[in-house]
Symmetry: D2
Subunit: 342 residues, 4 copies
């Protein structure tokens, strides 16, 4: 049994972590913190957890986090970087679901996140928690930077192509669509039901924080700086990311076979048969990424469709997958939920 | 292990049964039939089941249903009544998720369902599968009539009051709202996205087939014919039923305590604290009914709020619960999914 | 031409007023105020108004409201009662879309709205702006209290029955469902898309502020205090109210004819043929109330279905209708929008 | 007054035409046909039109279409091409909202639409009804091919760039998202609410019928064959198209100015200020296309965002705009609806 703490449990990644961890046979939930909700029962805020999670929120200063084997940070950006060192010093391993340790170039991080980094020395140590790329390092990691939702869907879709060097990596396009839960559980006007329902829009076309994260990941694989245009969109659904990826072919290979082979042993990546169009709902509430590869009219452009549940493979599920790796469990333990459809 | 067959697996109750049974540790899925889809893989129609359900649809005439221990009918009304006897004769137990065996008075059934009943003799034998009412009979039943979705939410909400005889049972009102999946997976215009989204309407106010079913259940408990006005509404959500129930108080009791005691040992009925308002999403994808009891302004009218997931506690989940009872498993086996929120 | 000002134009009733007034041939928009947005163009906040509304928000203290012929208050409760007198003194007529002048009994108002009333003397003068009830008084009014959304749908549905004295007015039930825009354009968690979508819930079952308003209106007509149970629900749609109304018959009349005659000359109330079930979308973006009358199984209970667009007949449209009456225009002027379906 | 007939009025473009024409001051609705609904009142099928459209559906064989000045075909593909000649011979002008006359190369049309063309001679005569491109020819046309919804949004977004020759027209990408009403009002499973809600997916990535239409339009302007990758997506909203367009810059110009100048005199194209992100709802129910131009990180790729209401500027509204041109009315007559937001 792993003794687990969660810092910041009132957002969507927090409640999703709780949903998954409550069903995990090797996890003992020891503490969940929230400054604002300290003292109140978690299940009072999230009635879906009634009878399943008996914990109360505790004050961050008083929670027995150092007694845990693992602490998840489900906090806004900028929190984990201030608290991780103390936990690591106490022998606690850490998975940060926010962005604090994702970007290796601290200057780039500070530019995109608009604050000085409080723990640059930990950035170097942190392992980027995409198991399909860094499985071995994750197993040994003390500190894991759990990937962003868009970066997970986008990198998994581009990886086989960039690794094989068969597309023009200087001119990739990622047109990504996210459900509204991706914006978090903050009281903001633009994500009200009456604003976001029956509506569709792009946002942050000028530059989204996930751009440098994706670029870093793909550039490492490519061995050279990739060129990427990344446009995120807000979609009137609760969960789900659909990344539509465009790349020009520079070398002919069997692209369907390329993807199938790359992911043949991956438990959470499902390459669909040719001509498929994955629904986001086909992975709803599950830790799966489904991918389809198209080459319209046998032309020069490949189109890859990659879908995940932003809260699961794009956040809490991937974090549990990383935990399983870090603690030597079966990678799929506690992650066998069948997607909820319809 | 129970060997299970499903007749009619292409609708929403069918795919939901598959979702639950695929996770059930004591079930071996032996066959699923569909005349129209015979030969094609279940997971091709429902990609959410890829990697989880390897079965292909088989032709109803060729499926090895008689080798099963249990067959679920997830068919339209009027199918199970023609096929149940043959299966029962072969020693197969049967759970019908449609309405064929729900109404004890065959004449009433024929009037509301508009067809002659093909197996009136089985109607008498069939046990109405509401475990909170008929747990012992279900354990021994060969043939279970799984309750309708509205009847489940409505009866669980009214039961404690009618049993205790503390409301005017001649004048009950059930104002019920259902998600669109309750209308099934039929290609009909009125349930198209562009018709049913951003819209709300009542339907069948003149008389809905679930009215006699609810009335039968409550009348049995009351020991007299109850008077019920039942108005269903189509709500722009996928899953969920919210029944808002109104009854006049005729005898003073502690109503909150009444409900809490009635359901104290029920694993799938959760009585909320006073002043609660259950969300349908608080039970999404789970086999739970949550209930809140209100007495506005301490007046003469009680308002009971009762929510379920129409596809789970209102259909496939309750069927699995009945299966667990029939085969002597822990009643909760395979039904421990935490609701998906958000 | 009427010179019109709007106080508080950043909410949904504000932008809906602008949509309607921008198309009104006898209106000159003179000013719209917002403390927070003073100086910015209205069309920057609401791009739907680009090219149609050239105004900028002005500071409440500096707006030329006293030069207007009419000022609409599209403000939170408690604002109009502090500012109306000054405008009336300047000869400006006032329509308050909030609740400040709706309840004649000031003590009741103060109890439900939780604040002392700043202008009790104006409450007596104010005319309750339901044209179907008070058309003549509205024509002459200086100060109109525009009805709430639930009260409009509910009163129009019950009015013919209560006027005719043919139902038990001591035991009415109004089960009402509202789209999320009814909660306003406030940054609050419970109306986020990811909270309110694919979900349904009752709220304020213990007592909603529209209860005393409805009760007042119906009691005046009944000539005695009516008994009403009112339960509002939050529905995952943007616009629309569906009131499902229940009443016991005490005197037999032709109920369909009763409704048809009552509303025969009403331009904005449409009584549907028998057995109809009005969709909320059938009035989307239009100033119409559609009503259907049912008597299930010819029993003792009448069920009336009443739908409006909460932002139009339930707020801004009714306010424009009142304006038309107050200034001697054709009552339908500027209100001829055909509902948007789908 | 123009006497207008509509062939095929039971789909979404049909009811939308009726919504707009019912408000048009120069239109007399003479006939609307439907084989299946002949004899029934239009307002019985679409209650939103009660009190506004008194017509009944008439049998196609009996409708007085030849007495009309103009007939709209709101039919499936393949109908207008069989009936247009007879109407033209009778002096009736024709606007086809389907695809029969959109593609000049009949062989290409037959390949994509899978049927032989019944009136190739009319294809040459037909004017492609995009007023922003062909205003003068539309004025004189007897037969107008109303553009598709995706082609309208996509061409308006790419036009200024292709006309100016400042992007690589051999490598354009159009990632387009449509509301579900774009799929029509057909009883098909994949567009049921419970399938399409809370879900997002691409479709027809291998090749969509609007691809040759867009390619034809842009190639004519470019003076050479353009290369276009076009991926449509199904979005869980009723109305709206959002086209996200990608093009590589080949020649530096002031792109914002380019768009503003190109559309300066266009009443229905609104170029937004720099850094804007148009919502589809900002044009809901209105005949407007809103466009924003971005150049992320001042790199080599332009991103153009183009939104329309697929049923208005993408279908019925554009058809009315074309009618206004053909009959010498103010181009905006009857098209002044303010978008419905929220």
């Amino acid at each position: 049994m792993v003794k687990v703490g969660i810092v910041g449990g009132t957002g969507y990644t927090g409640v999703e972590l709780l949903r998954l961890l409550a069903q995990h046979p090797e996890v003992e939930l020891a503490a969940i913190t929230s400054r604002g909700e300290a003292g109140s029962a978690v299940a009072d805020m999230f009635p879906s957890l009634r009878g399943r999670v008996a914990l109360r929120f505790s004050d961050p200063g008083e929670a027995p986090l150092k007694d845990c084997n693992l602490v998840f940070f489900a906090t806004p950006n900028g929190v984990a970087m201030k608290q991780a060192q103390e936990l690591l010093d106490a022998g606690v391993r850490v998975i940060d679901l926010a962005a604090d340790f994702r970007i290796k170039d601290v200057a780039v991080w500070e530019q995109w996140y608009g604050m000085p980094h409080a723990a640059p020395h930990l950035v170097a140590e942190a392992v980027y928690g995409l198991p399909e790329l860094n499985r071995q390092q994750i197993r040994r990691a003390r500190l894991v930077a759990n990937p962003g939702c868009y970066p997970t869907a986008t990198q998994l879709g581009f990886l086989p192509l960039v690794e094989a060097g068969c597309v023009d990596a200087t001119n990739l396009v990622a047109d990504a669509k996210s459900g509204v839960s991706g914006a978090g559980r903050k009281a903001e006007t633009h994500i009200l039901f009456a604003e976001a329902s029956d509506n569709f829009k792009a946002y942050a076309v000028g530059g989204h924080r996930h751009l440098p994260e994706i670029r870093q990941g793909l550039s490492l694989v490519a061995g050279t700086q990739v060129g990427l245009t990344f446009v995120p969109h807000l979609t009137p659904m609760i969960r789900g990311i659909h990344a539509t990826l465009y790349a020009r072919v520079t070398r002919e290979v069997d692209f369907q076979a390329l993807f199938e082979e790359r992911y043949a042993r991956e438990p959470f990546v499902d390459v669909l048969p040719p001509k498929s169009h994955p629904d986001t709902r086909s992975v709803r509430a599950a830790n799966t990424c489904r991918i389809a590869v198209h080459r319209p009219q046998d032309g020069g452009v490949l189109v890859v469709l990659s879908v995940i549940d932003n809260l699961v493979k794009g956040a809490a599920g991937q974090a549990v997958q990383n935990m399983n790796l870090m603690f030597g469990f079966d990678e799929c333990l506690g992650l066998s939920q069948v997607p909820v459809l319809p």
